[in-house]
Structures are given as structure tokens and as C-alpha cells.
Amino acid sequence: MTETINEKVSVVAVYNRDNKSFLPQRLKWQGRVYNISKLGYHHTQKLGRILHHIFSVTDGNLAFRLNLDTEVLSWTLEEVSDGLTN
């Protein structure tokens, strides 16, 4: 089941200069820390003139859709999914 969350969250992300990747590694939401183990897909989206980076990631149990707003540099947790039927 996918739940829409739309809450600002704290995220630790790492830029790796060797493979030129930028990936969220850890996410803190409602007091709990989730270690991100896999990036599913990354794409960008423009809302008006503002570029948003959308990271679809998982910690193995839950899948998260994280949105990085490049104008204000904030992270929003948009959706959480447990991969089960709705």
C-alpha cells in the first residue's frame, strides 16, 4: 500500500566524485532513522522554474519517494510504500 506523506524530513546524502553519483543514505522520519540500501530510480521534474530531484529509494522493508527541492534545498518525503496490495 502506498501512503501519501508530504512531510519535510532530515536526509543524509553523499556525493561520490568517482562515479559522480549523489545518493541519499539515511532518512529520519517521525523520530526513526531509516538506512537507505537501494536506489530504485532517480529523475528530475520541473515545477514552474524550480527543479526537483525525485529519488525512489528503499531500506529493504519500506520504499520511500524523496523530493529534493533545489530552490530551498529541502527534502520532502512524498510517499511511503510497503509493496503490498491496496
Binding site: 502506498t2 537501494k38 530504485g40 530510480y41 529523475h43 528530475t44 521534474q45 515545477l47 514552474g48 522554474r49 524550480i50 525525485i54 525512489s56 528503499t58 519500506l62 520504499a63 519517494r65 510504500s81 510497503d82 509493496g83 503490498l84 496490495t85 491496496n86
Partner: protein, 383 residues
């Protein structure tokens, strides 16, 4: 005229992403992989499945079924809303990969493209099958490991598409003059892209019951009896592997449509929706540098009936307000205000928006256009 089978080397490649939207969702969310997933604009029972995953297809779920039907066939199906920006991103990524092999890449839809190697075959010192395998590898490594595609290779677009549909998922099939008849012998008429039940009935009426009968039918029979039009010639050529479909028809119209979540016959609500659709259509029209002289509105009603009306106008329609006024006048001409399930608006007869004829009475036309462009810029900036 007796046209032989095309015996040239197959140089057209058709690439089709398997279950595109559902596969992209499974790529983005690894927890969905291996599970039956359906993408539907509405997740309620009446929503229409637009992309079932390979796992859902194994349960018999097909494109066009309602969510209710999909759930009956596969109670564990996971129904997701579509995410068009994500699919567009994948489309752009695979288009970039294809353009590394040939400059002649024609996207046929968001999940299909044709690569024409005719002019560049000398640059590639290997077979198209090897290039196809490399494209598959690159799609997995550069887009995502769950992304798979079916590739077909043929002497024309029709045969390449037919080949791509033979093995799914993850197929790579080449149709040459040597195996062409063998491929046709394993297909039925409605397996052929472009032939559905009505054409099948028409072909049957003239003694054509299989693709082999179809390919052996004479040009005179197809053109003068079966299709009674130039289509007969097109099919005669296409089936023999000669290219007839490499035509860029160009943009003829812009349109928007919407399937209503709550069906209504309230004129105010329909008018509001028509305005929203017209604004979206108008922005695309203006961005492409066109104006239109024709407008068309169509409604699908709850009772299954359909109404549509199009009109050409003397004025060149450019701003949303100009387009909306004409569209609203058409909508008002419905014979009956029945509950609408699907509303669509489109404009046609496109002309270059800079090609203006000054109007004797409408002196502030340019002001209105400037205002419209300014509003579009504001919308682009602030979303």
C-alpha cells in the same frame, strides 16, 4: 504489378519497452518487483488499467480492463496511479541510448521507438542482433536493472514491429525474407498490427483467412475489392517487407481530454473543466508557435452514447480565451445535457502564429496575444 518479397538486409529496429509504466514503477520501487502491478489513472473499481506488469498479465489482466476486473482476476494486484514525469524521464534516457547508434530515431510512443540503420550500417562493424543485445544491456545498466525491452528487426517498420511482438518479454527477433512465410504461418490476421476484427471480417469476406492468404493476395484484389482504396496497395507493399510507413505526417492538431471521476451534466462544472482543458491545450499550441482555425469538442456520456462537433472559424484562435469561447459555444450545442464521463477538446487547421493578417476591427489583437504570452511565462515560472 507483381512485387517480390524484399530480400534486402533487415536494417530497421523496433524497440518496445515491456509493460512500460508498470515496469518503471517496479524499477523505482524494488518492493514491487515480481508482484502483479497495474497502473490505472483511477484506483477505484471503474478505473481503467493502462499498464499491467508481466506478473499481472500472467493472471490474464489486459490493458483496457477496469480495476474491478483486474482485481477479480488477480486479487493481490497492486494498483498504482501513473507518474508521467517518471515515464518521460525513462523515455528520454532510452532515446539518448538509441541515438548513440543512429541519428534516425523515431519515437512511436512513450514506450516504443524505431531506429533506422540504413544510412549508418557501414559504421557498425557488427550485426544488428549484436547491437540489439548491447541496447538491452545498456538499458539495464543505465536506466535500471528491471527494465526490459523487446526488439524486432526487419526490412520495414511493419515487420520490425511484428518481430518485436513475437517474443515477450525481453525478446530479440529478426524477420528476413527467409523466415517471413514461417512467421506469417504462425500468426492470425488480428495478430497483425493494423488489422482488427472489422478488417478481419472484410478480409474473410474475400477469402483471406490467414496472413499467408493475405500476403499471397494480388494487388488488384486488395486494392479494388478488399480495401477499395489506396490502403490495399499499402498492405500489399508492407506485407512484402517494403517500406511504406516512413512518413512524418507532422502535427495536425492539439487536444486534451479528461475522464471524469464524478460524472456530471452540470453546465458550470463542465464549463470549468472545458476551461482547464482549453488552457492546457492553448499553452501547448502557443509554445509550438501555432494558432488554430478549427475547434472540436466531444463528450462521452454515461449511457454509452457519444456526441462531437467541430467547426472552422474565420478568426485565428491563439489565446485561451479565444479558444474557450469557441469551444463553449460548441459545447452549448449538445442536443441534450446528459451526464458526461469523458470530455475532450481539440483544435486543428494549424497555422504559424507569426503569420498574422491585420484585422480591421479587432485592433488590440496583438495586445491580447502579448498578454497571453506573458501569462504563459508566469505559469512557466511559478508552475
Amino acid at each position: 504489378m507483381d512485387l517480390p518479397i524484399n530480400k534486402n538486409r533487415p536494417l530497421i529496429m523496433h524497440v518496445d519497452l515491456n509493460s512500460c509504466f508498470a515496469t518503471v514503477e517496479q524499477q523505482a520501487n524494488p518492493l514491487l518487483r515480481g508482484k502483479p502491478v497495474c497502473v490505472a489513472p483511477y484506483t477505484s473499481g471503474n478505473g481503467c488499467v493502462i499498464s499491467p506488469s508481466m506478473e499481472a498479465k500472467r493472471f490474464g489482466v489486459k490493458v483496457g480492463m477496469t480495476v474491478r476486473e483486474a482485481k477479480m482476476l488477480c486479487p493481490d494486484a497492486i494498483i498504482l496511479h501513473p507518474d508521467p514525469p517518471k515515464y518521460r524521464a525513462v523515455h528520454l534516457q532510452f532515446k539518448t541510448i538509441f541515438q548513440d547508434y543512429s541519428p534516425h530515431v523515431t519515437p512511436k510512443s512513450i514506450d516504443e521507438a524505431v531506429i533506422d540503420f540504413t544510412d549508418v550500417v557501414g559504421l557498425h562493424k557488427r550485426s544488428l542482433e549484436d547491437i540489439g543485445k548491447e541496447i538491452k544491456r545498456r538499458m539495464r545498466s543505465e536506466i535500471g536493472e528491471w527494465i526490459s525491452c523487446s526488439i524486432g528487426i526487419g526490412t520495414n517498420r511493419f515487420l520490425a514491429k511484428t518481430a518485436a511482438g513475437l517474443v515477450k518479454p525481453d525478446g530479440l527477433v529478426t524477420i528476413t525474407h527467409e523466415n517471413l512465410m514461417d512467421v506469417y504461418s504462425k500468426l492470425t490476421l488480428i495478430d497483425i498490427c493494423g488489422i482488427n476484427t472489422r478488417y478481419q471480417a472484410r478480409l474473410n469476406a474475400y477469402g483471406v483467412f490467414s496472413p499467408l492468404d493475405f500476403v499471397s493476395a494480388s494487388l488488384q484484389k486488395l486494392q479494388n475489392q478488399v480495401f477499395k482504396s489506396i490502403n490495399g496497395y499499402y498492405w500489399y507493399t508492407r506485407l512484402r517487407g517494403w517500406e511504406i510507413d516512413a512518413i512524418d505526417f507532422g502535427r495536425k492538431s492539439y487536444g486534451q481530454s479528461y475522464a471524469l471521476h464524478e460524472f456530471t451534466n452540470n453546465p458550470r462544472e463542465l464549463s470549468r473543466l472545458l476551461m482547464k482543458l482549453t488552457e492546457k491545450m492553448g499553452r501547448r499550441l502557443r509554445k509550438a508557435g501555432y494558432c488554430a482555425s478549427g475547434i472540436h469538442v466531444s463528450c462521452l456520456y454515461l449511457d454509452g452514447t457519444h456526441w462531437h462537433m467541430g467547426r472552422k472559424v474565420s478568426q485565428k484562435l491563439y489565446t485561451t480565451s479565444e479558444l474557450f469561447k469557441k469551444a463553449q459555444l460548441l459545447l452549448n450545442r449538445q442536443p441534450e445535457w446528459k451526464k458526461v464521463t469523458h470530455l475532450a477538446v481539440s483544435c486543428y487547421d494549424l497555422q504559424d502564429s507569426n503569420d498574422n493578417q491585420l484585422d480591421l476591427f479587432e485592433t488590440d489583437m496583438q495586445k491580447k496575444r502579448d498578454l497571453s504570452n506573458a501569462m504563459d511565462s508566469m505559469n512557466d515560472r511559478y508552475g
